[in-house]
Symmetry: C2
Subunit: 445 residues, 2 copies
């Protein structure tokens, strides 16, 4: 093992890294938020004048589709900026999104049950807020982890209970007993997970989605499926509208769900804060007397739109709704291959995972029920003999930044998450050089 006091020539001055980390006041970097890591790395870059290989942020690294930008500009020229958008969304967007669900997931959700949200972030917030009050005794969310840390922060802020487990040891058939051990208690209102998964990029198999769906039916639990990275499992080609294979989804196995679809990643449209929420036709019309106390109505769908989303922000940017509608329409008509645009991430991940593996690192979440995971937006890695705090700081000496799995609900707290989106092909040789030096400086016995 390395000796911390040993003088070594690392790409970034260790003293600078140490002093910035110390000045942040954060005792353990593995539990700092993504934004806090971003802030530290910004400071180190400014002080040293050196550019990092920045893998900490899950942000798009691709230009926005011209078709969206032009539609948004056209809407602004029509004067939509002064007119409140309808809370339930502009008709074009609702129609095209419903069609998109049919053509890319092969499910039926009527346009009235498809509503825009200020990013999928608002979609999850609104879902938690409503579902936790829908049936009083079912007041607890079950996270299938690892997951997006902010969704837990939303629970803290709203004072909503949650339980969670790491999927790592419960893939395939083992998932059934594990989930049922929670549902059988009767307090679970909903199950949430992302698929493809942030941070691990595992994808649930059809078998696993069927298990989740059937158990949710059995215990009257709502499933919130976060499809922020829809169609981005590049092992299969989900890019052809109306043609199999389709994006795998729990919605094929049950009818009591909310799907959250972001424009941020698959459509590189993060800046405009536009996502879509699909409420299943069945769930939309469900009623519960318990809801009335908080929302003055018994009806799930009505409460979601006119009570929750209305009171959160009075709707979503008018012009951005036309942008998303135009991108969906072009995708539906086969004129815009949104999957091709983001396949770039898969190419980067393939190269980067190889570099990490060849230089002593291990991929933490590496398989989907015995099949190697896809190359995509994220991957996870660890290094023998390091916990994630130590690895984060040590990698900063080498000009590489990432976040810890400790904040994602993973039990593999030795692991880090890498996001490939900000790393250009030109930076790959620099990354390789730094990883090689790291490996040579930290030989594995």
């Amino acid at each position: 093992m390395m000796n911390d006091t040993m003088i070594r020539n690392t790409p970034i001055d260790k003293e600078v890294v140490n002093s910035v980390v110390k000045a942040s006041g954060i005792k353990d970097v593995s539990i700092s938020t993504i934004r806090e890591i971003v802030k530290m790395v910004n400071e180190i870059e400014i002080i040293t004048g050196e550019k990092f290989i920045r893998m900490e942020m899950g942000v798009p690294g691709i230009a926005p589709p011209q078709i969206g930008v032009e539609a948004e500009i056209a809407a602004l020229r029509r004067g939509v900026a002064s007119i409140y958008p309808m809370i339930d969304g502009v008709i074009d967007l609702k129609n095209e999104f419903s069609r998109f669900l049919k053509l890319f997931i092969n499910i039926d959700v009527s346009p009235e049950h498809c509503v825009p949200t200020v990013g999928a972030m608002q979609g999850s917030f609104a879902s938690f807020m409503l579902i936790s009050k829908f049936i009083k005794k079912q007041n607890t969310t079950l996270f299938i982890d690892p997951g997006f840390p902010v969704q837990k922060q939303q629970h803290h802020a709203l004072g909503i209970h949650y339980e969670s487990f790491d999927i790592y040891d419960f893939r395939g058939d083992k998932l059934k007993d594990k989930i049922e051990s929670y549902l059988v208690k009767g307090n679970i209102s909903s199950i949430i997970y992302s698929n493809p998964n942030n941070p691990s990029w595992i994808c649930f198999t059809e078998k696993e989605l069927k298990i989740i769906g059937e158990l949710a039916v059995k215990y009257n639990v709502i499933v919130i499926e976060d499809l922020a990275y829809i169609a981005m499992d590049f092992r299969q080609d989900f890019s052809k509208p109306g043609q199999p294979p389709y994006q795998p989804s729990v919605s094929k196995y049950m009818n009591n769900y909310i799907l959250l679809i972001s424009s941020s990643k698959a459509f590189s449209y993060a800046g405009q804060r536009i996502g879509m929420m699909a409420i299943s036709n069945t769930l939309f019309y469900k009623e519960s007397i318990d809801l009335f106390e908080y929302f003055r109505t018994n009806k799930f769908g009505y409460a979601m739109i006119y009570r929750v989303l209305y009171s959160l922000s009075s709707g979503t940017s008018h012009s951005a709704q036309y942008a998303f509608a135009a991108m969906l329409k072009a995708a539906n008509e086969g004129k815009f291959d949104f999957v091709k645009e983001v396949k770039e991430y898969g190419k980067r991940a393939k190269i980067m995972k190889k570099m990490f593996s060849e230089n002593g690192f291990s991929i933490v979440y590496s398989k989907d029920d015995n099949v190697p995971i896809a190359d995509g937006f994220y991957f996870t890695f660890s290094y023998h003999g390091f916990d994630s705090s130590k690895l984060m700081v040590e990698l900063m000496y080498y000009g590489i930044s990432a976040i810890s799995l400790a904040i994602t609900g993973s039990t593999h707290i030795e692991g880090l998450r890498a996001c490939v989106s900000q790393i250009s092909m030109e930076q790959m040789p620099i990354l390789e050089e730094r990883l090689k030096q790291f490996y040579s400086d930290h030989p594995i016995n």
Copy 2:
């Protein structure tokens, strides 16, 4: 008094109105939401083919300023659509907004404490969410009513307590004892009101603002001042940057406040859902140990931005931030007279209030501490012998729609709120004709 069964030739078929109201399932129209009234009137218009004088919606009726639209288009052309906005807002917007507060209210709030929100709607939601958890024993909001109904709906949805009173009988010096009777109990966290007031268009006098400010200081209470209609008290000219008179505000009398400023009305930019929140320099740095349980930090300002606003929507439309920044910059530099643009509403209100008064109607909230109220976006009215439910339905027979004060916390539940924004000058003769017929059909003894 009229006889309901009497056949009269009204502009709108009474049977159609009655059947639509009945079909809505709403037992008492005076407590239906604005959106529900909108829906009913839409249906009646479609069935009858007749256009209503629509006064129920508080939406802008003016085209968006070109300066905002062009800046937004320029930002989209620069590619901001794919880039997450910083949660605390783009620098230009923060700087121009801080300057705007100095030039139009004559107060100092540093740019770091000015953050964009998805409309002032998100601003109030975020404020309630955070303030109610800031000091445990102060868990109740005090509304100075009448007020915007959705802010109470936000309380229901979040499960936050509130108390309220109608300002009507407590103008001027009487306000002090009334407010103090609530604050002395120790459970009030914050006082909220809008100024100019929605729905009544009363404006607090400097004396009243001083009373509110001094009591808030005495009892350590935060004031949330909703300035959705900033500078729209057209009795004074608030349009000259850096020159008195300035928009009256509680912020001149205390330093523990949040100001909410919407782009929707004063800047006719409702479609893009962009507002600004100013947290006073003092409040931003306040700390409370109670906050930690929900937000994992003790710091008010930090929690507002990185816990509350982040988890609500991950920021506000990137391009819209540049639009608002450009409008504020032009206003600050005296190149864009935003007040002149919206003075149109004052002209309409003057004409309409005269018509209502000449035809038997009374203005409910008519004075600011003995001075006649301004002509602006809203006014309130009633008719002898009618409660608001009856008046709403009866006016629908005459093709006129408005909402009841019953949902605004007013004790004057016989009154209705009229919004002038959707009524064009061309419609004024039609309105007058309908009011005359109403008056002649319902003579006041």
